[in-house]
Symmetry: C2
Subunit: 382 residues, 2 copies
């Protein structure tokens, strides 16, 4: 690992050139061949990434933001026409102030938003599909270290993320404690739990069950496994919200004039909550590749910062010099607050968990992150 | 409805004959043609049922036990060789004492354990399959009223059930308040919530996605939709337990010598919790029909005792003369304790919820029902 990540791939001139693009515009960095944690090698991994703001001369103001499972590098709008997923939180004058900080976000390897993933072509021009290697969070971090090298960033001022992004931020600190000064982990854990693995298994199985999955090599076919991916998303989305929120929003109401109980057959109408989940599924299917969902889901199942370090405690023991802010959503029932509490108290310098108060559950890390602005401004971005 | 259920199908002699079979042995009662709540008619509904103990001369000691989603009528061993699913709770000298009470349990219509369901044959000898009508909890209760008629039971001493069985018990009281003296509803609700509908939708969709589902008409085929049913069961089973229990039992341990992270491909080894869920799925697939799972799941989605009575409050208002015991599992995250609390306080005679204390979640209604023995003996079976 250290051999790979210490390779200097880019000189200062290249680095300077890489920093010329406007804020929030997707760029691509070829990082060279890469051998994954489990041993497979690909001849070229390209990372799609975006930046906001300007790296200072000492390269001390770089902030890395890690996206979640189906997120991407478009954290904030910048010069693009598309809104970012954390627009209220990242930008000029915002909590992560791009007037002061140089913000970087990369699409995770294995995904489908600009970095090499299963839909990418092999040297013969054939999509990797089922041949794409098993990917771990450690892989993503090791590749992102090459991006940091290319950008001239020896150490991040802060790495920050929620959900799977929190897992990635924490793994950054564990893999490269000397390259991370502050680490912000929101609604995430140090290792995926049995329940998280269990929900992920059901999702993976649904994708594989889809007859259009074709063993993962469906790119040349007319149909892609949308139905399986849609079921995976439905399961996931329920875990991202709370029973109370769904009940307040939808209760048992039928969707429009549909009749969930009136039909004499099983081709009945839908409840509103079903229509809502159909909509969530359709939205994801329209923007995400099923193979990438599988790869990233299995990566999240593998999440365990202790792997390779003896134990979880040993891994966290490496973080003596890293300043932490651990956040959680009080109503989260996928990344339970107890897991954030456990992480916070197991750190070499135990800290207090900062809570987002929200009735909606896990997704509160997306919708209500600004509740953490005060402690972030005071303790991280002061 | 009143027309159908008031039909006297059986005279006293027939009723006496029906009561001669030994305890815990499956019998079958043809109940005649039936028009379902949503309008479809089948020419014959047979109910598979079992009894334990003896009906007294006044027919005042009959107890109805309603099984849950994938349960069946075999509540207690009786004279059979098979253990019952509530053996510790129902039997001679047990909380539901079959020396004192005449206990009856029927398999729900639409199921696959002895009552007419999708795998049953139409008059031409073809399985109903996709033509089986949409079924509701009200349908099950109305048909079970015919069984009560046949057995000579004008009113139940008690109707009792957990989970979907609790829904069935409550619906019994709402449909026929004059035929229920005591009603015991454990880990259940008066109407399925948005979240319960949501999890059910994902399960139904997984079954329908299975290429072996064949639109529901798979009985003549070589393959049945086992994979889809298995995914449905995995999702359901996670909701039946708790994150804490799964984590204590399995954590992130690999299954045997399997290597969940070591493979370079996606054909990786499993975590223990995955193997556990595979086992739960296999067990169900071996004993349950996918169409029945669909029919009963959609019946549970439709659960709403208020339907047909103006409102939920109006429906519960019918229960002035019924004595209630409402139970819940403190760690249940499918049938949240809040839902039991809401039911208990909305009854005409509000009552206190009795708690089963268990770390395992919803399934505590099966494994730890004896925690309710004291209040049951004191207030119901005194």
């Amino acid at each position: 690992m250290s051999v790979e990540t210490n390779v200097v791939l880019y000189d200062a001139e290249t680095a300077a050139a890489l920093d010329q693009a406007p804020d929030g515009i997707l760029r691509h960095l070829p990082t060279g061949p890469y051998t994954f944690e489990t041993g497979a090698t690909l001849p070229q991994i390209v990372l799609g990434y975006e930046t906001w703001g300007t790296l200072n001369a000492e390269a001390t103001n770089a902030v890395y933001i890690a996206h979640a499972l189906t997120g991407d590098s478009h954290v904030a709008r910048g010069a693009s026409t598309e809104p970012g997923w954390w627009d209220g939180f990242v930008g000029p004058g915002k909590t992560v102030d791009t007037n002061r900080y140089f913000v970087v976000a990369a699409n995770m390897v294995g995904g489908c938003s600009g970095s090499t993933g299963p839909a990418s072509l092999d040297p013969q021009g054939v999509p990797w599909g089922s041949r794409f290697p098993f990917t771990t969070i450690k892989d993503s971090v090791r590749l992102e270290a090459r991006l940091a090298d290319a950008l001239g960033i020896k150490a991040w001022h802060t790495v920050l993320g929620g959900s799977m992004g929190g897992a990635r931020a924490l793994e950054w600190a564990v893999e490269f404690p000397e390259r991370v000064r502050n680490c912000v982990v929101v609604a995430a854990t140090a290792e995926s739990s049995a329940e998280q693995i269990a929900f992920a298994q059901a999702q993976s199985a649904a994708i594989r069950l889809d007859p259009d999955f074709a063993g993962g090599d469906y790119y040349a076919n007319e149909r892609v496994p949308s139905a399986g991916l849609g079921i995976a998303r439905r399961i996931a989305h329920i875990t991202y919200r709370t029973a109370a929120e769904l009940d307040v929003r939808f209760g048992r109401a039928p969707q429009g004039s549909e009749q969930p109980v009136a039909s004499a057959g099983l081709d009945r109408g839908r409840y509103q909550v079903e229509s809502y989940l159909d909509h969530q599924a359709d939205k994801l299917v329209g923007r995400f590749d099923a193979n990438s969902y599988l790869v990233l889901t299995e990566a999240l199942m593998s999440h365990d910062v202790g792997r390779g370090h003896g134990s979880l405690r040993d891994a966290l023991g490496r973080l003596e010099g890293v300043n932490f802010l651990v956040g959680a959503v009080d109503s989260d029932r996928l990344y339970w607050p107890e897991q954030s509490e456990l992480l916070a108290k197991t750190l070499p310098n135990p800290c207090e968990v900062r809570y987002i108060t929200s009735p909606i559950g896990h997704d509160g890390f997306l919708t209500d992150i600004e509740q953490l602005s005060e402690p972030l401004k005071r303790e991280i971005f002061s």
